[in-house]
Symmetry: C2
Subunit: 342 residues, 2 copies
């Protein structure tokens, strides 16, 4: 197997390849990299020797010379949580295609650790950094004058000269609202997370805009609370008391929606017949485990990660785009909680 998988033991260098092929080390290099002129036969001989010996160029040496490391850092403040994971996945995907490897680290939301990791990444000469977060709330920049570009994904930097990619929460609210209107609902309530969260306010704003354009308003008031099932259960009771005729509820998260679904069932309201339900996140274990399965807004986190990676690669390649906070469209996933007969 020595032809494709490096074996234990001494490392094969280009020197060995050159010797085996009976050429100089420089010629071997050129042959392997497909540059320079040389006889076809020579090139083939070198390639054969390299394959034969299981030669793998040492990236440290290459990097040392070329100044490139083909490595980027990925910093997560989410302890690899639910939100940053799809983002990382998308990023890893896009970077992998570009032959870039990913150095991963987790800050546990600790600025000290974060600083430490940034330093270490720079030590390692990463060519760029992606920062992901648990929420999209603005956060301090990881550093103004870093020698490499930085892109924020699923979190945003307070520094407007940084590029941040976040989901389109408002657009998600719009999608949910339009869908509910399209299915004939008019008394639409909204139960969501803490008012302190920009994401919660924006989702509510999206809903509000669509409703006022239709000459409607949110049934009751927007109910801000927590990102929990328990709050969903409570909120549903509050809403049913405020407006017993409510025929749809848009929730700020799938967890909240699940709590709402439970209360509705216990209060004898059928979903979706009596009350339609839309969640947010498309967190499948929650959305699918719910009865009925939830129609929900998917933030396209994979796409955010992919875009972040691509932007980073662009900047590294010297094609800087505009900085600032950029928003990635969301997508509605329709399931039984708004649709009969499924």
């Amino acid at each position: 197997m020595s032809n494709s998988m490096q074996e234990a033991g001494r490392t094969v260098t280009i020197r060995d390849v050159a010797a085996a092929a009976g050429v100089s080390i420089g010629t071997a290099s050129k042959a392997l990299n497909g540059v320079g002129r040389m006889r076809q036969e020579t090139r083939a001989r070198v390639m054969a020797a390299a394959r034969q010996l299981g030669f793998r160029p040492n990236p440290l040496a290459q990097g040392l010379l070329g100044g490139r490391t083909y490595t980027v850092g990925l910093i997560t403040c989410d302890s690899f949580g639910r939100f940053s994971i799809p983002v990382m996945l998308g990023a890893e995907d896009a970077l992998g295609d570009g032959q870039i490897s990913v150095l991963m680290c987790d800050t546990r939301d600790d600025p000290i650790r974060e600083r430490h990791h940034v330093e270490r990444l720079l030590d390692r000469r990463v060519e760029g950094v992606i920062v992901t977060g648990r929420r999209t709330e603005p956060r301090p920049s990881i550093g103004r004058d870093l020698p490499v570009p930085v892109v924020y994904a699923m979190t945003q930097s307070l520094d407007p000269s940084d590029l941040s990619l976040i989901p389109d929460d408002e657009g998600g609210g719009v999608l949910a609202a339009q869908h509910l209107l399209a299915t004939g609902r008019t008394r639409i309530g909204h139960i969501t997370g803490p008012h302190g969260f920009q994401a919660a306010r924006k989702r509510a704003a999206g809903l509000g805009t669509v409703l006022s354009d239709a000459g409607l308003r949110v049934s009751g008031e927007v109910l801000y609370g927590e990102w929990s099932e328990e709050w969903g259960r409570q909120g549903a009771d509050i809403l049913l008391r405020t407006d017993p005729g409510v025929d749809a509820i848009f929730c700020g998260s799938d967890q909240i929606a699940r709590g709402v679904a439970e209360t509705l069932r216990e209060r004898g309201r059928r979903v979706p017949d009596d009350v339609a339900l839309v969640g947010f996140d498309n967190w499948e274990p929650m959305a699918l485990g719910s009865r009925p399965p939830l129609t929900t807004v998917d933030m396209n986190l994979n796409e955010i990660g992919r875009l972040a990676a691509r932007h980073l690669l662009d900047i590294i390649a010297g094609r800087p785009g505009e900085a600032g906070v950029r928003t990635v469209p969301a997508r509605l996933v329709v399931r039984a909680s708004t649709r009969h007969g499924t």
Copy 2:
């Protein structure tokens, strides 16, 4: 800020430091690394210059020379799923302490991609590899004659000469069973995942052992099904029909337990008063969102990751342990589903 954060612009080399300190490059190196003999004053002068200039040794150069990269690869087959994440976190934690950086990649369960990533990691001269998985089911080794050590975490290699760290599923079953017996339950049912899963069988075995030691047996039969809430709901109905007097149910996952909890409530059984409930995984969004919150078995995935990392570091450092499949103890987390008054 040039003293602690590298600035944009040309990189500071040891050459610059040496020049600034008025010493030779070799002396500067020795001073910075605290080796060799030299006047205290000289050493101090070099250090000062280095700090002043914001010097950071280039790890590529160091690695090239020393043959070490201080890097390990982390391969996940779980798309960073629920199980591998805590493992990765633990690993990253342990490795970070050892000044080792982590190159991360995801295989999406695709052997081609996996192979590809392994090659790339070897190209980059990682000093070791950790493989994590979505389940603990045995899987093919990532390669017999790799030039670096490999440790499997939360997955196991079919090759017994590999070291694999997996949770103690059987022990988890024992913990659950003992807890239920200790709280006075005697008619204990078990609803779990597919019989095809070793994990499911082992958890059931743990339960079975404790019960037979107590002169009891599983109420009804062990109900194998799927890892879903829906199956939990179904299974609960089956069990209630088989043994209406069941006073406790141990579930193979928190999702199943959640489904069970719902059905029990709908059938008018109080949890834990009439039926105690124990889940598995300690997947907090599920376990805490359930009504009541679930007592459950925590597999200590963080610890598995940490141990995997430590073992890997040991092997890298030339202290190889024994190979084979090793098991990490689980831990019971008691919540309201088995305990009154919470």
